[in-house]
Symmetry: C2
Subunit: 235 residues, 2 copies
Amino acid sequence: MQNIDALVFDVFGTVVDWRGSITREGRELGQRKNIKFNWARMANAWRAGYAPAMDRVRSGELPWMNIDALHRLILDELLVKFRIEGLTEEDKDHFNRAWHRLKPWPDSVRGLKRLKKKFVIATLSNGNMSLLTNMAKNGGLPWDCIISAELFNHYKPDPETYQGAAKMLDFPRDRVMLVAAHKGDLRAAQNAGLRAAFVARPKEMPPKANIDLSPDSAFNYNATSMTDLADQLGA
Amino acid sequence: MQNIDALVFDVFGTVVDWRGSITREGRELGQRKNIKFNWARMANAWRAGYAPAMDRVRSGELPWMNIDALHRLILDELLVKFRIEGLTEEDKDHFNRAWHRLKPWPDSVRGLKRLKKKFVIATLSNGNMSLLTNMAKNGGLPWDCIISAELFNHYKPDPETYQGAAKMLDFPRDRVMLVAAHKGDLRAAQNAGLRAAFVARPKEMPPKANIDLSPDSAFNYNATSMTDLADQLGA
């Protein structure tokens, strides 16, 4: 196949390691404030709250809110649930922005730099523009362009996001490929007319999570890392 | 002063040399198609058609159109006016996209790389997202984020563009500074609550144009190049 002009990337889990990064920042916060807690549990619960929170926006129960605001909503609920006390507003705001500081997987920057030589590379994430911009700056992610679902007032997997990204980059949809570690995201991109590349990220979820990491011939590419994807695409 | 988090940049004329680039691409086109014409005249007329075309969008006479579409509208009129014949649709489309390939001024990339270490740097241009993305890729412009007036369905100098950019980057307006070679753009940014840095670009317009290149104490900074601005900002 090929005839691809642009690659758009899911970010949380596909390019960066949210679970390790949030757990680490939680531990630092706990040490600073002398709070004993299993921060890996916080990372998992925070992330688990994300899809239901987006659904509340999608259904109209909540007005349009960006991910920073949704993350904060979930964090405030979890601090109550887990009885974590003694955090100032500044502590909470800083911890909420840990999502701006998520660390890339070890192969991400190297792979993206290679892919950038051959394709336009852009984010296509539910994260807001400032979050994605700060994350790129912190992590050295060499995007040509940052595209957020925020620009379309729709969250993935709504088709407006995939189609909006292709339109914004001014390429036909079938010359744009979504790269993601999540099969639902990829299937939604295909239904919206884009191509799809799966990158398996076995460490994204906790060991017991039992997520589907197997290659799927329904996708145009199946890779084990960004550098493997670059190899397969001749970049 | 200082206390600035982000710099947003006008692009055409401030970061890239539209006049030299369009003239050069016109000459190449003329040689290829055996058309004798003074292509500097085309560059100047094309650019001169741009503000009136945006005004037609602003007034509602034309529906929202991006700059690629406006550029093409103007080009088609100028080809008739200048009696330039024999161009195929492909020739015209390629020439129209010369605006995606404008070359940076010699100090731009070096200055931006230094400024990027200290500030978030983003475009704030009337150029559309794909134009700015392709231009950055062609010219090696190291933006943290690409912001186009297109995202706000308003063209500069409408206040929605300056305020929208600050909101998108999630910084208070008075911690965001517009960098531009055009005083009207800078004054509009100030009126919208942003800071302003003037960069004189004496070669943007033809020698006879007699534009105002003098420093103005109303602006926060007055510089003679991007590297001079980096010096003044300690970057």
